[in-house]
Symmetry: C2
Subunit: 151 residues, 2 copies
DNA sequence: CCGATAGTGAAAACCGTTTTCATGCTTTCC
DNA sequence: GGAAAGCATGAAAACGGTTTTCACTATCGG
């Protein structure tokens, strides 16, 4: 698969997936470098981790730009985000467009995407019983992956 | 029910639920005021909200103290904590000692405690299938409560 | 090339939370 | 009662991840 390219405008008021009429999208060195890094990294990583990784590779890119692209990619569903126990946001390339959750390693960040009709049904039922509407849920599973558990 | 009293030492190395031999627990005006506020507040609130509420009631208490007590209370299982979408920690008096989750109103913070054998089993199964050990999970459901939905 | 303008990034602001530390309060011991 | 011991308090400062600012740069249609 070719590296991700293109993107969207950063300007205010732009929220549709299509660029606003009269605007253009520019491919930049930085966007491509980030996409390529996300392609390689196995698990969930913080923005600062990813930035450090890019620098390690010799890329010239600012932390602000990493944050900006990650924000857009996650809005577009191209990367998943979770919050670790310290409240730090972690990012990882998303592998499916279906609704899903993760089993993530606390130690190395490695993550497996899982789908589960059972939880979805449970969440909807429980919320309905409480009389709540416009319902939404977060489900994250953390543990030690086989590799980290072996240590 | 009488207001919560007692507590635990703040010193390092104290983690048991029983006070360390030779130390005593002090009931302070501030601890009591916080307990009483938690008793009244219906839903999940931020530490700053709770502090503001206490000040509104005329209590003289510092924000640091509110944070300190909430931290201890949550470690002891007397209050539940969740993270809102901005990553801010919200607190609420816990009503049960059983493992449980919440259906929480995005708008007013009102929350219902729910237990669900189904999710617990699902989480354990999914993690085991991925070969993860020492597993743990977070499950939170958000929506609009009946009152807020009516508006 | 040029001009319009989206993208970049160093530095500063933001903001919830934690740490510091001097000053209270209780409790304990005499 | 008095004094010493040490937990509790809270204003102020530090912390750290993230966002904002804004002057500058790079891209690309024409
Ligand atoms: Mn789900
Ligand atoms: Mn559970
Ligand atoms: Zn691992
Ligand atoms: Zn509500």
């Amino acid at each position: 698969m070719t590296a991700w390219r293109g993107g969207r405008c950063y300007g205010a008021g732009v929220s549709a997936s299509q660029p606003v009429r009269g605007t253009r999208v520019r491919g930049t060195r930085q966007a491509e470098a980030l996409a390529s890094a996300l392609e390689c990294l196995a698990g969930f990583r913080s923005a600062q981790d990813i930035h450090a990784e890019l620098r390690r590779r010799g890329e010239r890119i600012g932390l602000t730009t990493v944050y900006r692209h990650l924000m857009v990619l996650s809005e577009d569903g191209a990367v998943d985000t979770i919050r670790d126990e310290d409240g730090e946001t972690l990012y990882r390339r998303c592998e499916t467009s279906e609704h899903h959750h993760h089993v993530t390693c606390r130690s190395c960040g490695r993550s497996v995407e899982v789908e589960g009709r059972a939880v979805e049904l449970w969440a909807d039922r429980v919320a309905a019983e409480a009389g709540f509407v416009d319902v939404d849920h977060t489900v994250e599973i953390f543990g030690l992956c086989p590799a980290c558990a072996a240590k």
